[in-house]
Homo-oligomer: 244 residues x 2
């Protein structure tokens, strides 16, 4: 039997198969706090609880395409930094039936995050409180305004937690922080991102040196406007070689 004949006779329905979904962790740093966008579920299961936006993977689209489609549909948003995080496959993670979920996270600058929030009324902004230092890992809390910590549907709490861990791990290593900033930004704004995500105070001169020595930043010559004091220089991110 040659390959073509084999393909013809292959029966993809022979075994019972799980469904595959994508869940999106839409993150930003808003007013110095790491934040995500959540939806309130109106359907079973977990009706009334908060969940990550997500959807099933179509038979004709790749995982990445599914993530971008959901990003566009739920957050009216294309062109963001999107990265696959982890695949969650516990048997009972969804009470309906067997659903494997591939978690992606997307990073947005605060202004585009606010725009997504405004144009998608079913989304709510939740601030994250990380209860562990460094990359230890562990549970985190999400709350809307100054309310109580939210109860998250499915294993979405674990997804959030892992996203923060990954973010902390890659922050100083890759250019991921710049996905959270507008195209032109001050060193102070960059430091604010670092401090929000790592939940630490950083020394300003030392931070400045480290960033400039890295060679990723390009001075634009332009300066901040609107400040009642010395305006800071605006920088631009110049991708390192080998970076996407």
């Amino acid at each position: 039997m040659d390959e073509a004949a084999f393909l013809e006779s292959y029966d993809p329905t022979a075994y019972e198969r799980p469904s595959v979904a994508v869940d999106l962790i839409l993150m930003s740093v808003v007013d110095g706090a790491p934040s995500v966008l959540l939806t309130r579920r109106d359907q079973h299961p977990f009706a009334g609880e908060w969940a990550l936006p997500g959807g099933f993977v179509g038979i004709g689209e790749s995982l990445d395409e599914a993530a971008l489609r959901i990003l566009a549909a739920k957050a009216r948003m294309s062109d963001a930094y999107v990265e696959q995080l982890y695949t969650f496959g516990a048997v009972d993670r969804d009470p309906r039936t067997r659903i494997i979920s591939v978690a992606y996270f997307a990073l947005l600058p605060a202004d585009r995050f606010a725009a997504a929030l405004k144009s998608a009324p079913e989304l709510a902004l939740a601030e994250l409180t990380v209860l562990w230092p460094g990359e230890t890992g562990g549970p985190i809390e999400a709350r809307i305004g100054d309310g109580d910590p939210l109860q998250l549907a499915f294993d979405h709490g674990a997804m959030l937690s892992l996203a923060v861990r990954r973010l902390r791990g890659k922050l100083d290593y890759s250019g991921i922080a710049f996905a959270l900033l507008p195209q032109r930004f001050t060193l102070r704004a960059l430091q604010d991102i670092y401090e929000a995500i790592l939940d630490t105070k950083l020394n300003k001169p030392a931070f400045r040196r480290r960033m400039l020595d890295r060679g990723w930043l390009e001075a634009t010559g332009e300066r901040e406007t609107g400040a009642s004091f010395r305006p800071a220089e605006l920088y631009r991110y110049r991708k390192a070689e080998g970076e996407q």
Copy 2:
């Protein structure tokens, strides 16, 4: 409609769904070279080419369970360091039908690697040649003995490449190197692992200090035997807190 009623009426067969598979990257360091175990495919597609051992995910098992089952079945092996790597979901990655594959990698000490190889005759040992420095990423070559680079089925070449990248990235950061060593080992053996995976020469005294200062190593008081010169002290890995 309450939740129970909803669950009863949910129809999981409503949409066409992809199949989900797990592929295993069984790695070790053998004679100073990073190596993997491959199988020669005897079925279509890609019959005659080399592939990673893998299998479909059962409807009643989690992804991790599937990975361990395949590890036990193909390599006669349980109790190894196993970690999920990435999920590959391109539409055309398998010509049969839509198959999403979750790649896992497993790390084994050289002696147990050899045992797996002996007890599983369909597996072959392939040495890896990494063509890029550091964590740049890019293609890698796998060859059996001193033959030509193998042609790998599906996107298994990309899986291998990503596994090496992850391994390099986590090596100095986590206790992952100890999964490639027997329970008791010399500092020299540990350094050999580092040099094989990073493909660099390391300074011995500096390496020694770094490792001991890290607090992960526990001297056993025992010494290597069989050497015709000063025997090295045997150390044991003491897991850091927060590490699995």
